[in-house]
């Protein structure tokens, strides 16, 4: 698959993962007495995108290696 398309998929998935992460983290933190600010959203966004790109790249390389072997 085209590498750029794969990367785009990783980023979009990262955005969605960040959304799910925040949707769980914010109510849990609020219940625990912590007020999650907008910075937490930025942090979740960074974590989600980085996580998905790292995992996606590893997966892509594993797939390519398996296909070549």
């Amino acid at each position: 698959m085209n590498r750029a398309l794969w990367l785009l998929g990783e980023i979009v998935l990262g955005l969605m993962v960040a959304g799910a992460l925040t949707a769980v983290a914010v109510p849990v933190l609020m219940r625990g007495g912590w007020e999650a600010g907008p910075l937490a959203g930025g942090l979740a966004l960074g974590i989600g995108v980085v996580l998905c790109v790292v995992v996606g790249e590893r997966l892509r390389k594993t797939r390519r290696r398996d296909r070549l072997s």
Binding site: G19, A23, V26, P27, P38, G42, L45, R58
Partner: protein, 245 residues
């Protein structure tokens, strides 16, 4: 991999920052804010004064009567009405009385002649135009006065338009996915997002308690929560104009 990661971060920033370019623009001015309202009164009578665009509209509302005075520098119109439908319109020392229940054509024609070319009425019309998107009660009160004045002059269209406007439900049926004008600050957007996702989380918990005993319903609850949470997430990104910080 590091290269891929860095490209990914750059593309990510481009995607999420595109909203901020769209959001940059002049702030919207609420035209109704040009009108200054003053309220007051006693236990038996409420008063409202609106000033703007060179016109002053004062209204005194009692249990059975309403008195409206529309005045500009060189003109003034007085309207006295009561709950039984009797109305008296006065301008420049002349007056006409009419019964709104009967709507005598002759009296209406007199009222029309009396207010023909009135600068006070024209200024009142301009004032009303500025209050088009104003939902304050004071603005609504002025709208009804405008409708009454026009009904006295035989123009029922204004009154019907006001009635339609009051009856129309507010157009707020969905959460906007993006903003065309930047109206909120990130902190306000985030506060709304936090309260929204907390509500969704509680709804999700309740859904699990209520319906998880049905086979497959736990998955349905999770799917519903995920879709709503993602919509709220993309909303907060759009609201903040990019990265939600």
């Amino acid at each position: 991999m590091v290269r891929g990661l860095s490209i990914g971060m750059v593309v990510s920033m481009l995607i999420v920052s595109s909203g901020s370019r769209v959001a940059a623009g002049p702030p919207t001015i609420h035209r109704g804010a040009d009108v200054r309202f003053t309220t007051g009164g006693t236990a038996t009578e409420a008063t409202l004064t609106a000033e703007g665009l060179g016109v002053r509209v004062s209204k005194r509302v009692g249990p059975e009567t309403v008195k409206i005075r529309i005045e500009v520098a060189n003109d003034a119109i007085d309207v006295d009405a009561n709950a039984r439908g009797a109305v008296r319109l006065a301008r420049r020392g002349k007056s006409v009385s009419l019964d709104m229940a009967v709507r005598d054509a002759k009296a209406i024609a007199t009222a029309r002649r009396l207010t023909e070319g009135s600068p006070a009425l024209k200024s009142f019309g301009a004032l009303i135009a500025t209050l088009e998107s104003d939902d304050r009660n004071a603005a609504k009160s002025l709208l009804t006065s405008w409708a009454l004045v026009n009904a006295i002059r035989g123009d029922d269209q204004v009154a019907m338009g006001v009635a339609r406007r009051f009856a129309a439900p507010r157009a707020k049926s969905m959460t906007p996915a993006s903003f065309t004008a930047r109206e909120e600050t990130p902190i306000v957007c985030w506060a709304e997002y936090a309260s929204t996702v907390t509500t969704y989380y509680l709804e999700y918990s309740q859904c699990l308690v209520d319906y998880a005993w049905i086979p497959g319903m736990a998955a349905v609850c999770s799917f519903e929560w995920l879709v709503k949470a993602e919509l709220a997430w993309f909303w907060v990104i759009g609201c903040s104009g990019g990265v939600p910080v």
